[in-house]
Amino acid sequence: MNWESWVISTLNRALAHGTPLLWGTLGEIYAERAGVVNLGVEGMMILGAVSAFTAAQFTGNPWLGILTGGVVGGMAALVHALFTVTLRANQYVSGLALTIFGLGLSGLLGARWVGVPLDNPLPKLTVPGLAQIPVLGPALFQRQSYLTYIGIFLAVVLWLVLYKSRWGISIRSVGESPATADALGVNVFLVRYLCVAFGGVLAGVAGGFLSVEYRPAWTEGMTAGMGWVVIALTIFAAWNPLRAVGGVLLFSGLYHLAYRLQGWFPPEFLKLMPYAFAILVLAIAGLRGARQLAPGALGIPYTRGEK
């Protein structure tokens, strides 16, 4: 294999592998920007995956599957919002509960789909014209997912909303100092609910991508820790949607470069690589002081008019 096809296939695979991570990370960025950590990403993703597969199989329409995954992810997130925003429960524990619950329930619901291939997976997209560009064409524009492009587009839009719009100011102020935001007339509870639910929708779509396009099939526990990688990437991206794109590409690129080392290492070492990378990525973020960029009220429930 020459270096050219090496680069092409690594980039191409990294984009596909990174797509669910990007969707998940964008969602978690919005939830955390509003001040709510959601450790339930893994649970929301896997519930999205199983429901997307089920809907796609019954209706024969993969897009309807993705949509269902998003809706289910959003509903799961609303439960987290209810617990953490209204009932002021510990955000870490509520998220963990959601993950434990999601992994269990998806195993129950998906039992009948184990070993069943999806009849009608999401079609791939080859961008006409652009795919003919040497090296970059096949790397970025050949047989890619619609969701990859939508995800990158979404990252730009979400960055614009967050930094260049009134909504963005509201969201950031709610995450930074909810009491001030409240005094200025921002509905803290509504903003938090919406952001957490939005994060859940994106996580659900990410799960749907896995079961309706990437595999396309249902296997138990198929998210395999991706939800946790998402939370690491959120910190690495310093809660910035555009940086999330870079972070995801770096992560998935590293992952596929490691896969090139097949033969030198036992396969188990390649499988544990992404998890080691997630720690590495956080250590790098720590060295750069990314933690200081965290929203000021992250993880703290807001109580109105009480000290």
Partner: protein
Amino acid sequence: MKRVGPFLLERRLVPSPLVVLGVSLLAILAAMGAMAIIFFAYGVDPLRAYVMIARGTLGSRFGVMQMLRRAIPLLLCGVGLVLAFRSKFWNIGAEGQLLAGAVAASGVALFSGLPDPLLLPTMFGAGFLAGAVWGMIPALLKVKLQVNDVISTLMMNYIMIYIVAWLIHGPWKGPTMRGFAYTDTFPRAAWLPLIPRSMVHWPTLVIGVAAALLMTLLLSRTRLGYELRVAGESPDAARYAGIDFLKVSLVVMLLSGGLAGLAGVGEVAGIHHKLLGPLHISSGYGYTAIIVAWLARGSPLAAIITSLLFGFIFAAGDVIRVTLQIPFQVVGVFSGLVLSFLIGIELLMYWRVRLLPKGER
């Protein structure tokens, strides 16, 4: 203070133990109610299901023993997690620390060549150390590089799962096991004694109860326990008091990881007698222990009760799988529900509801 109709709501800072117990029971009942929906979905009458569970667990010697057997790893991991959570170290890595202990114990049992009487004590020592090391890495990363403890401890679980998988498929694969991914069986001297006709390896159970007692003393009676509590409850005060966060985090994770490591030793030396697939060594004990610890509300002694409760739930999961043909994942669903309801109604504990005197209604 708030008035709602004829009631007066008063905030209280420290709920009484009775209220805590009542609210916890309420959460478990609510989760059982929600489970009824799942039983319905499988076409099983929920009442009949609960009767069968009761008969299959508490109603038989076998069931009680199964419950005890499951409670052992939950207790050891749970006590360690209580300690970690008290200092606000989010150790989600008991699963990996347990496996690290299992690996170390297996290494000693299979390859050390120690004289028989030394074998089991060395296995416990090595298991504790391995779990402790696996737990202290995230502690170091957290204090030195601000690496989020939830993520690092979790990622360490996955890393250890694949290390175990590599060992049993590769270098430690047992030559006598005909191609199965196990190590060889441990020599007899490395087997823990059992309560007759059961799988309860009682020495580990004794260690677990002793750990709960010791950690209670540590928390309430020692300087270290005091530092640990201050670091958890009010980090700013701890900083003023000159408490060394690195030391506290390292010691907490030494103990928390070490105890989980002991649980791993118990599983391989007491039940399997070999190192095998990570999912078979631990049926998610490390994760369930998070709930065990959260239910125990910072008290290592209470973890004895909560680990028995979840031992019961695991045993119930087995009954449900065998007699009602519902997959074992119901245990995960139920655990998630209990934890959700528990934190969902936690707020209740901090309000005292009183009827207003007649004249003021």
